[in-house]
């Protein structure tokens, strides 16, 4: 890919400052934790401010449907900052659903759903993973059948981010013609989304059960692969951008602490082992943020290396996020291991996000294929 355009544009910087201004003070540790105690797991007021006032719900929705009409590069800018504060609301899930919905090319569904997504009145999600977490369509894929009243889905999808709150759920399912994408509405007969206990307290996931649930086919029957791939590609970018943000939080928290905490009569940041641990975090931050950016820009431009870059970014930032959060807890000492300190929330996110995206082995296998070894 040509390398110009990798720095933030002035529009992107404006978006970033507007988002930061809105988030400032909203997600203090106490505020975040109070929200986590609720069933939804986030504060509806803040989501509605982000979704409607800032327009983030419609970030990827074309302007003709009332959205911002922005691409993956801008989405990654937003996700990096949301990842930095562990924002627990349904931005990511809605963005993934929008991406998939757009990729189906279904004009009628676009007319019907995109304006409401852009208004922030409904949240979306994608329900793709099987019980092993795989996005490939294995034997236990959801089945779709057509009866006199329309399409019906049977099966279950796992690890569905924001499945417990989404109003529209995009589900790939197999018909006689192959993989197709369907839309199920929350509240449909035979649909249920059960939240399960999760390691990452700031990201609820649900198991979606479909027991003859009525659904709308999006696009062509058997033509679902493109939408699934678009959503998966978007998830890789999101995982990288969020990790870059979270790593940035750890870096700042640790550097602050290293300057103020004294032992042996001086700030611990003066001990070389501590200083070098901070520099290692800086290195991870620099490279993770760059990789997330590079992959998002490559995707926005449709560059030939876009998917490879997204895989590389997800793999490397996933590993870096775990390394950095672990190092952060260590650097903070006993306080870092307490429930009260937020470090563990990032540690939880790092482990969770990596597994919800794909295992490092899966990324590596994909990379070897993509460069045609």
């Amino acid at each position: 890919m040509a390398t110009d355009g990798l720095a933030l544009t002035s529009d992107e910087r404006d978006l970033q400052s507007a988002l930061r201004a809105m988030l400032a003070g909203e997600l203090s540790s106490a505020g975040l934790r109070a929200a986590l105690e609720t069933d939804a797991g986030y504060r509806p007021e803040l989501w509605s401010a982000l979704a409607s006032d800032l327009g983030l719900a419609g970030l990827a929705v074309p302007e003709e449907f009332g959205g911002l009409g922005l691409g993956p590069a801008e989405a990654a800018v937003v996700l990096e900052d949301l990842g930095r504060v562990l924002y627990p609301g349904p931005f990511l899930a809605t963005w993934l659903a929008t991406t998939a919905l757009l990729a189906t090319g279904d004009a009628a569904a676009h007319q019907r759903w995109l304006p409401r997504i852009a208004e922030g009145t409904i949240a979306g999600c994608v329900a793709v993973a099987d019980k092993a977490g795989s996005w490939g369509q294995a034997a236990d894929a959801v089945r779709a059948r057509h009866d006199e009243r329309g399409w019906r889905l049977d099966g279950a999808r796992w690890f569905v981010i924001a499945g417990h709150v989404a109003d529209v759920i995009l589900v790939p399912a197999v018909t006689d013609s192959g993989l197709s994408v369907f839309l199920v509405e929350r509240g449909a007969d035979g649909f249920s989304a059960e939240p399960v206990s999760v390691l990452d307290l700031t990201r609820k996931v649900a198991i979606v059960n479909l027991d003859g649930a009525p659904a709308t086919l999006l696009g062509r029957e058997g033509g679902g692969q493109a939408a699934v791939e678009a959503a998966e590609h978007a998830l890789l970018l999101a995982c990288a951008a969020e990790a870059a943000g979270g790593i940035g939080w750890c870096l700042d928290a640790c550097v602050d602490y290293a300057k103020t905490r004294t032992q042996f009569g001086r700030p611990i940041g003066g001990f070389q082992a501590v200083a070098h641990a901070c520099v290692d975090m800086l290195a991870h931050h620099q490279s993770s943020s760059a990789a997330a950016r590079y992959a998002a820009v490559a995707t926005a431009r449709g560059a030939p290396d876009a998917l490879l870059a997204a895989r590389v970014a997800a793999l490397r930032t996933g590993e870096a996020y775990r390394t950095v959060t672990e190092a952060a807890i260590h650097l903070l000492g006993g306080i870092g291991f307490t429930w009260e300190h937020d470090a563990h929330l990032y540690y939880r996110r790092a482990w969770s996000s990596q597994q919800l995206t794909a295992t490092p082995q899966a990324h590596r296998a994909a990379i070897a294929e993509l460069v045609r070894l």
């Binding site: 990798l6 550097v255 520099v279 290692d280 620099q286 070897a368």
Partner: protein, 405 residues
């Protein structure tokens, strides 16, 4: 140039110019690499045998002179000093282009052009810039870096080589060590102590004539077997005051500029294209070893590729930010650490793919040659500042932590 050509016009012209003079690479695809064709050399240091070297140097100088004569010698330099006055993107585009042709290249001139020239550009007087920069960029003069001494490595401020003023010149006595390319160089950027007292405030930088009476260069053999670096003895060597770079006592700042360029130059040397980090070369290696279906090797391969790409994305994004005026700085040294880490990873990967064919020459193309990388990798962690020193600097200057001890 009166009006600036567009990047496309420029690239087109340059491509035509190169094509007229230099043969194309055997494969002119992006990487310029084809397994089994041409030389399988993967050296990471400039250490050809002395005979080859004697042959190569005039060709390198001719190449630079050609470039200079046709306005490609210093594309992004200021017009006042003989540069092309074009944006840095033009320079990069030209460098990309040259990879497709069999040109002598600039790898022997990294210190001269990547470090010493920009230091003169920053700290030199107008006169010095106008005198030295055209000479360096046209290859008429080649510079080396005379910083390290037996007693002053990581602790560069401990340099003991003394320069004493006598009238309009200085007399220098001391010993420098690990001087890369001193045997090829015409001049050396030397840091000397010019007064007693506080260490950082009494150093001064000069350009010393490497052929002046009193300069003795002795090759030092590296663990790779070659001799890319040297020890340099200076015995009452005369340096005219007109060759002092920066003020008397301001040598530390001059040295820091050079080191900053060294770290970012090393960090941005991608060894890409057809080099050791070429994806094509690594795929060729795995296939030739018959291991492309081995799931463990495939995983290791992808792990390495992901690290190499990560380093590249980081360099590209940082370069773009720097161009857009968004914070460059000492953190560029992190790229140098990433480079030496990747060289070690590469060595480990290659060893696992080749097995004993790495350690005993079986005659296969692209096998035993990799010992150069295995043997060269440790040098990359040392040269240009060790990992520890770079991290100390970044901790203080970027993160604002207390001086680490």
């Amino acid at each position: 140039m009166t009006s600036q050509p567009s990047l496309e016009e420029f690239t087109q012209q340059a491509a035509g110019w190169l094509a007229e003079r230099y043969p194309k690479m055997p494969r002119s695809d992006q990487s310029g690499f084809a397994w089994g064709e041409g030389s399988d050399e993967v050296r990471v240091f400039q250490e050809p045998d002395p005979v080859e070297e004697a042959d190569a140097l005039p060709a390198i100088r001719r190449w630079r002179q050609e470039l200079w004569d046709h306005g490609y010698g210093w594309i992004a330099g200021p017009v006042a000093c003989g540069g092309g006055g074009l944006p840095a993107a033009y320079q990069r585009a030209f460098e990309q282009l040259t990879r497709r042709y069999q040109v002598p290249g600039d790898s022997a001139l990294t210190i001269s052009l990547g470090m010493v020239a920009p230091t003169i550009g920053r700290h030199g007087s107008e006169e010095q810039k106008q005198y030295w920069l055209p000479r360096l960029y046209s290859g008429a003069q080649i510079a080396c870096q005379l910083f390290s001494e037996p007693g002053a490595g990581s602790d560069l401020a401990a340099v003991a080589a003394r320069a004493v003023r006598s009238g309009e010149s200085w007399r220098v006595t001391g010993q420098k060590v690990w001087t890369s390319g001193a045997h090829l160089a015409d001049i050396g950027e030397i840091i000397c102590r010019t007064a007693a007292g506080p260490r950082h405030k009494n150093l001064t930088a000069f350009l010393v004539d490497m052929r002046a009476p009193g300069v003795t260069v002795r090759p030092l053999r590296q663990m790779t077997g070659g001799a890319a670096f040297n020890e340099v003895f200076l015995d009452d060597v005369e340096i005219p005051d007109s060759r002092r770079i920066g003020d008397e006592g301001a040598g530390w700042a001059v040295a820091m500029t050079t080191l900053g360029h060294e770290r970012s130059a090393m960090g941005s040397s991608s060894f890409g294209g057809a080099g050791i980090f070429s994806t094509e070369r690594l795929i060729g290696l795995v296939r030739a070893a018959g291991k492309d279906a081995d799931p463990v090797i495939r995983q290791d391969f992808a792990e390495l590729i992901s690290q190499l790409r990560l380093a590249r994305y980081t360099r590209d994004v940082m370069a773009a930010r720097a161009q857009a005026g968004q914070a460059p700085g000492p953190e560029a040294a992190l790229n140098k650490i990433a480079l030496s880490d990747n060289m070690r990873r590469l060595a480990g990967f290659v060893a696992n793919v080749l097995g004993p064919a790495l350690v005993a020459d079986t005659g296969g193309w692209g096998t035993y040659a990799w010992t150069s990388v295995v043997l060269g990798a440790p040098g990359y962690r040392l040269g240009g500042g060790t990992d520890e020193i770079l991290k100390n600097t970044i901790a203080q200057r970027v993160l604002g932590l207390p001086r680490p001890s």
